[in-house]
Symmetry: C2
Amino acid sequence: MKFEVTILGSSSATPIFNRNPTAQVVNVNDKLYLVDCAEGTQQQMMRFDIKPGRIDHIFISHLHGDHYLGLVGLLSSMHLNGRKKMLKLFCPEPLKEIIEVQLKYSETSLNYAIDYVFTDASQRSLIFENQDVCVETIPLDHRIPTTGFLFKQKKRLRKLIKERIEEIGIPVPYYTAIKRGSDYEAPDGTIYKNEELTIAPAPPKSYAYVSDTKYNEKYFKQITGAALLYHEATFMHDMLDRANQTHHTTALQAGEIANITKAEKLVIGHFSARYKTLNELLEETQTVFPNTELAVEGRVFVISE
Amino acid sequence: MKFEVTILGSSSATPIFNRNPTAQVVNVNDKLYLVDCAEGTQQQMMRFDIKPGRIDHIFISHLHGDHYLGLVGLLSSMHLNGRKKMLKLFCPEPLKEIIEVQLKYSETSLNYAIDYVFTDASQRSLIFENQDVCVETIPLDHRIPTTGFLFKQKKRLRKLIKERIEEIGIPVPYYTAIKRGSDYEAPDGTIYKNEELTIAPAPPKSYAYVSDTKYNEKYFKQITGAALLYHEATFMHDMLDRANQTHHTTALQAGEIANITKAEKLVIGHFSARYKTLNELLEETQTVFPNTELAVEGRVFVISE
């Protein structure tokens, strides 16, 4: 099942050096989930050929402008482009007021409904679930209420061994039960054990999106074992004091967190405007966690195919 | 005196085809005035090397998102980049609430003051004046309260004829009065008429910014004689019904308005997303007003040098 992340923005605070502030698209089984939506996100979506009409779920981590200022423009463009489908918006509660005051004064009545689901930064919660994936909030440690998001693939059904199924002549109506783990009893009473009819699916994978936060063990357990961990790494470690003061993480700390939580792969992002080039951040992280890449705009990280 | 306009965005409603929604910078005597500020304006300023720190005055025509959604991001970046200078913001009154609600929830207290000057779309008003320029609102005819802005160069002082001044030996303290039109009386009682001491300055020029509006004669008199007229031209004239319904202007109408108001030059912008290329709009306008150009991003229109 397709499970991948496309980076639309990697800058912290302000756009700079052709880096846009934070936004990314998570694709799970060809459904698109937008995670954060900084100013310029709709321009970035055009640039990387991501159709806004395919997005039905948007997740906003917190209300610093570099994570949501592109949202009203995107909502407005969806409206102007004829959207009718409901949009689900997972966000801190005050975002509703921010959106509504702007719609009010532009005298805009959207042609589609927004279904708000308010996040609670004080506790881990399951906020979304469908047949492919469930999404939990990750309570973080930032200056204002902030949650990351943990995308967990659903456990998939077992895979039928086609040749064996046909050989035995099992009728189609039995397939679902067998995929779920049942044995099959043939009309002649023979029992075929599930293990000889199916193979186990790939274990479900998870993607942890850890936006703005200070290093804080409170979320480590929840994100443990992520196939892909996106972690902010705003500063180099020589700026640790500044990172602590502004509730951000250093590149070295991001690598340590990936180690402690046994991530398979790490992507660092949310780079400070003080870094014109990013290699030094990457190298610092790689001293402790070699399997790290930079969240460069347009880059796609494949978790499963 | 330098007087020029740099286009930062030319699209209506949504960003598309690498066209950003409306924003432009007016440079009068090396002071920069930002006019409208759509999403992505700060990115465009970076692209065209316009330093936000040089902007002390921002003019917002109305509260449709394609004219102001980049403002909170720009204000925030100015704050993060250490701005202390007061910023003057000329805008419809509700913009204050829109900005303040966003600063509140991001827990941001700007390091500089915003001095709001609220525009009144019901009447023409002088809203700004310094030694170089004065700015009037232009009441327009749009779906929500909207004003354009008329930038009028101040009448300049007369220019001293240096050789003549030196020949007569006029002391420096008399220069200002002479530039203002006074004659000079020498110690021996000789009267030197101003006409032989000075030459007339270039006549003051004006720039009329007519953002979203329906064709409406009410603003024609005010903008008459503009050295440069920027006029929206959202649609081709075959879409006149749609233009009327949405309170916009057609390319043909923009040309007619330039003719009626005796503009020296016309720039059309605010193009609908239905036009992937813009030549047909330009050609339509030029059938009635040949001296027309397109508001293409990055293009600079020089009014005086």
